[in-house]
Amino acid sequence: MSDRPLVSVGGLVVRHESAGLFTRRATKTAVAGVTFDIARGETLALVGESGCGKTTTARALLRLIDAAEGTMVYDGTDLRALRGETLRRQRKHMQIVFQDPFTSLNPRHTVGAIVGEGLLVHGIAKGDAAKARVATLLEEVGLSASDENRYPHELSGGQRQRVAIARALAVDPEFLVLDEAVSALDVTTQAQVLALILRLRDARGLTCLFIAHNLAVVQQVADRVAVMYQGRIVEMAPSRALFDLPAHPYTRAMLDAVPVSDPRDRKERTLLVGDPGVTGVQTGCAFYSRCSHPAKDAACTTQQPPLVSLATGHLAACIKTNINLEPT
């Protein structure tokens, strides 16, 4: 079946335990019921406010933290049921570039060992073949083969980020999660790395979950975009539709806040007013207090707005909006 999605997430809930103020431990729901599919060869971008649950979603999907509820299926395999050896083998297919490169790279290993580790672990290559593969990867991300002898702390922030990208690509994954993976790169290096990812997508159907704050970059690489707010997806649409006809007030606020690209066009940027609060249980729309939709009213506060379809593939969770509304 070719139209079966490669990745399918349904009703995912993830909770974190943390030191609370009044109780010794408090539970915070970071992901509160997230559903999405990613087709083979597709790039789905996940965007949204800092702290809304993007990294948590990705970590749960890769089985790096436990999900509390929901389903996660990869190419017909129930990811939540995997244990031990089967989980280890699954990891070859699914790779992640972490948001914080420094803390994710072993400080005692050389760049060469870090990038080449997956090749050995998964029995893909060893010896000279592994060395050659590492050299190629380093050059593809704009580093040089001679950097293999260096240690992570001897690199710049963007160089470390590229080591993490090279490591993820080394095992030739089918599915790649990029969590803010190009944010520490200058725009020319960034363009080079994005071109590499796009090339892999075209050449061998690499599937990506692309988490990023830079919406211009998202627009360049994503086929579809999911917008998260406080643990939930509030809008999901093909990239074009999302940028041209944003339906959810949060998506619109976000697009209006993108910085200008010319100093002569400076303007006061839209600020979201009001404290978003920390993700928790609330009735009604989580965005209500900061929403600037002219029609917002008490109805918004009585129930969680469902994610409904506005047009083919275009979903939004706002009871006051529809796709015909003029974009602001």
Partner: protein
């Protein structure tokens, strides 16, 4: 007017097993009081090394070249005794580190790390330090700051950690903040809030900012001047308007051409 910061002929070299690597090569620039200056350029070109040299926080394997000078508020930072430098750091000059996850203390509550800056620089009243810290965490856009005060760094998202880092650097409203990629983990609405805060501090307290960033939109939006670095050298220094409309150096033109721009239906 004497500049707030005057860096002249700065040279930084790192030594490692493969020999010597020149990270910064005769870089000269100034930052005026209250000015917001961008430092942009290639990954690995020496931006962080420049910042660390100013802060006196270079790694042990780094050497600052003999002809280098860094004057800040009429003191020579390169010859200042460590004790005096420590007194300046956090109070007169502070830094937002590029990788907050690595810069924050993993076993200390984030709020306490912010409050500590006040305590180290003379605040005796712990409660006041705490209140100051919570207020600043709120200003940098951390939701529910009184609650998040107690969180440990690993319990926060990447962008939340970045805001903690910002709160630490801005707490005492120093005259110079060196911000190394301070908004790279922030979504655009929180980013707008943080940049607005920098502009407010500039107005309120005359704070100057050396803003290291890869986001040229942030430069276009916030900075008055920009320095462009490549291979350890400053290849162009210009007003932001000139930089975007009449770039002189080939590399600056390349950067501008590669800048991703959001396309929206008019």
């Amino acid at each position: 007017m004497t500049p707030l910061l005057d860096v002249s002929n700065l040279r930084v070299a790192y030594g490692d097993r493969s020999g010597k690597r020149v990270a910064v090569d005769s870089a000269s620039f100034t930052v005026e009081p209250g000015e917001i200056v961008a430092l942009v350029g290639e990954s690995g070109s020496g931006k962080t090394a420049t910042a660390l040299a100013i802060m006196g926080l270079l790694a042990n394997n780094a050497r600052v070249g003999p002809g280098s000078a860094i004057r800040f508020e009429d003191r020579d930072l390169l010859t200042l005794p460590e004790r005096e430098l420590r007194d300046l750091r956090g109070r007169r000059i502070s830094m937002v580190f590029q990788e907050p996850a690595a810069a924050l203390n993993p076993v200390m509550r984030v709020g306490e790390q912010v409050a500590e800056v006040a305590l180290v620089h003379g605040e005796r009243d712990k409660k006041k330090a705490r209140e100051q810290a919570i207020a600043m965490l709120g200003r940098v856009g951390l939701p529910d700051p009184a609650e998040q005060y107690r969180a440990y760094p690993h319990e926060l998202s990447g962008g939340m950690r970045q805001r903690v880092m910002l709160a630490i650097a801005l707490l005492l409203k120093p005259s110079l903040v060196i911000a190394d990629e301070p908004t790279s983990a922030l979504d655009v609405t929180v980013q707008a809030q943080v940049l607005k805060l920098l502009l407010e501090l500039q107005r309120e307290s005359g704070t100057a900012v050396l803003l290291i960033t890869h986001d040229l939109g942030v430069v276009a939006e916030t900075c008055s001047r920009a320095l462009v670095m490549k291979n350890g050298q400053l290849v162009e220094q210009a007003t932001v308007d000139a930089l975007f409309h009449a770039p002189q150096h080939e590399y600056t033109r390349e950067l501008l051409a590669a800048m991703p721009k959001l396309k929206r239906r008019a």
